[in-house]
Symmetry: C3
Subunit: 317 residues, 3 copies
């Protein structure tokens, strides 16, 4: 029992999504953080070595389902002080982390930078490795390198598309945090590579933190270049958040060229370290041909916009 | 870890079901309480406020499957002393509770009042809200109202049938407990409402408790009126249970008119506060045209009866 | 909380499987023990009596899925000191245990005796009862019989194939351990019985343990006779393992007659009581007509061989 920590997040709220001219009122989830249930633990092996495990699955508190799996993360790790950690299983890809770390809304809610920046057209389904990779072996640098952090990951294809190799390197001190990451994924049977490159940074001025992120996805003739600029401002228990995100997609075959942009504002009010209330508003505008959208509502026609408003409660345990 | 309580119930036994002339011997589950696994916790936010979560899914200990989800209950709550609780997620509907609370066998086992009283024909599938509702916001009265208790719930349809609104109000003291509930559910694309009304009460005389329940389900031309009368008698560690339940269904279209009744006897013997043995026998009789049945066995033809016997072990943790 | 112990195993590694001429590199799981997550507890009922529960489901740490169920084991037990235990639910069959207990690689990894000995052709799918049975009632002898141990199990068919009856009896002291088991399973709608008989033993000489197992599966005209011989040798924190296994299948209809054999070597190095590293190599050779194979890779044609190498990390919590 003492070997295991049971942990989780429940995040539910209400949401109004207006895609094109269609409006939908919903119970929403995951506006601030993704709802989850997990089990984790660390064992001291002596000599600065430790073994650890992490099992984490997504929850849908609005409906109670679907079934629990551990596809958010499922890893065994072996670490040594000053040497870093070897981690095996299903884990986040190095190239994912910058979207989460260098945007005020990260990858959650109506204002998430990932609404535009994931893969092509903001879709996490562009490749199996946009967020996580199964069958992976990862190495994480130790936390003893004077602020330098980083990780590398290789994921087996196991005879099917999905083979991934990627790495991230960063530097963080009290105020500054910068990181760059690159990955390549064998994304189809023909062996075409899906490549991700990103570079992000944040800087803290007193109660404010400013963040910037450049993010590129490429595969053969297709390319999406995106950026996000935003920040947070702490007013005691309340934190204000704002972000502007832009994505520009081109395909040299067919001369496809379109773009979308998103602007989002929000506030998070902490009731405690474990519980917060939050509200966010966001608007996505598309150029002719683009279908960027706040996920979860009706589909949009090319060029139509998307607006979202949500308010919710976040509770962690 | 200290933030989370892992809890559950395992209830397994053996059962003989005779539906019409077909007899089946089974390993049964859930004869006394539904088998389940859950995770819950409460956080003190100060000033009489608290946040809480509750994740609970059904188990099938006879086969070990199907997969775990949290469709029994999946909620986040925010409460204040003297003000009540706001609860969001998937939860029991207010109109469900009276069947469970005012019948000696509740909604479990061969003698359950719900065998007849759920929806039409005793089917919990009559509407998505017979037992629980997804995408719901609920308000529960505080426990500081001198015995008055109650709750109201609204569930989003999210563009599909299932929109629910319902409430329950009751009063309980040491011996007496009475409650009334009403709900309406948008039950199909045409917008037809499924309505439930019930009224129940129980009274404790020394070691005995007597219970009565009136329960009505309606939708357009269809109506099912039911009642249940029963009680429990405590003999130290053993509690005797008995119940008579009747349901009468009419549909003005086609002049459909039939009824069923159920009589059940049982005993529960406590080995501890957490573990009990139980046995129940039950018989359902149908008028011409009716197919009320003890669930889990063969189907019956209209007018045929159903008999069930079960014995099991209940263990909670 | 104190009523429940959360426990589990994560076992992941890398594997190379060469079946016929096809080679596959994989992330592998379960090379030493099957990855799992479980919940269990015991309640003291006084007077030497206790109630207990055990819920255990398989994990796939390489991919994080599929969904969690409790099909490894899902039982409620009632025990009395000196009297034994009654256990209800889904549990391991008595005839399963000898394969696990009397082979150096048991039922896990490229060298598992079960690769050949399970059912016919090494397939656990030969009958629903090869490893476990749902809807079962089991009785386990108490641990107060001077080293004699044993169990009997009956599983309900519930109107479908799968009715099982089996028993196991054994004797263990400090150095010696022997057991015999027999079962019969109603394996199809025609009522044909699948029968398993096995006899195994192990003996400890100093740092070595030698194990032998005889295992027979039969159904109507089909019979598979198998044996396994192997052992372990402890060198401090490292344990060496070796095993030779042979299976011989005949079907009097069609005069089918073929055999396969497997030879496996391996080592397990304990980093702690809870965490180990391991490596195993194994080779399966088939006679003309046989398709025995190390599971998880490509299919083989009759008569082709199979080779496997794996290395992994095992962590229990």
């Amino acid at each position: 029992q003492s070997n295991v920590t049971v942990f989780g997040v429940l995040d539910v709220g209400v949401q109004q999504l207006t895609n094109g001219s269609k409006r939908l009122n919903l119970m929403s989830i995951d506006g601030l953080q993704t709802s989850r249930l997990g089990f984790r633990g660390t064992e001291d092996l002596g000599d600065g070595m430790s073994a650890s495990f992490h099992l984490e699955g997504a929850l849908s508190p609005d409906t109670g389902g679907s079934s629990l799996d551990f596809r958010r993360r499922s890893t065994v790790g072996l670490a040594k002080k000053g040497m870093g950690e070897l981690r095996i299983g299903r884990d986040y890809t190095p190239t994912f982390w910058s979207i989460s770390r260098f945007n005020a809304f990260g990858t959650n809610g109506v204002g998430a930078a990932s609404n535009l920046l994931y893969g092509f057209d903001g879709l996490s389904s562009t490749a199996s490795s946009v967020v996580r990779a199964s069958n992976s072996v990862g190495y994480h640098l130790p936390d003893t390198l004077g602020g330098v952090y980083g990780q590398a990951m290789y994921a087996f294809g196991e005879g099917a598309p999905g083979k991934y190799a990627g790495a991230r390197i960063g530097y963080a001190n009290k105020d500054l945090d910068v990181a760059a990451a690159y990955s390549t994924t064998e994304n189809n049977a023909a062996g075409d590579d899906f490549k991700v490159t990103n570079l992000g940074g944040s800087y803290k001025f007193g109660d404010a933190r400013v963040m910037v992120l450049l993010h590129r996805s490429e595969q053969t003739t297709r390319k999406q270049d995106g950026w996000s600029l935003g920040g947070t401002y702490s007013l005691g228990l309340t934190t204000l958040r704002a972000s502007v995100t832009r994505a520009h997609y081109t395909n040299s075959v067919g001369s496809v060229d379109y773009s979308g942009n998103q602007i989002a504002f929000g506030a998070v009010h902490a009731l405690s370290k474990r519980t917060s209330l939050y509200a966010t508003i966001s608007r996505v505008a598309n150029s002719s041909g683009a279908k960027y959208v706040i996920p979860g509502g009706n589909t949009v026609s090319a060029g139509q916009g998307s607006r979202g408003t949500e308010a919710g409660i976040y509770h962690t345990f």
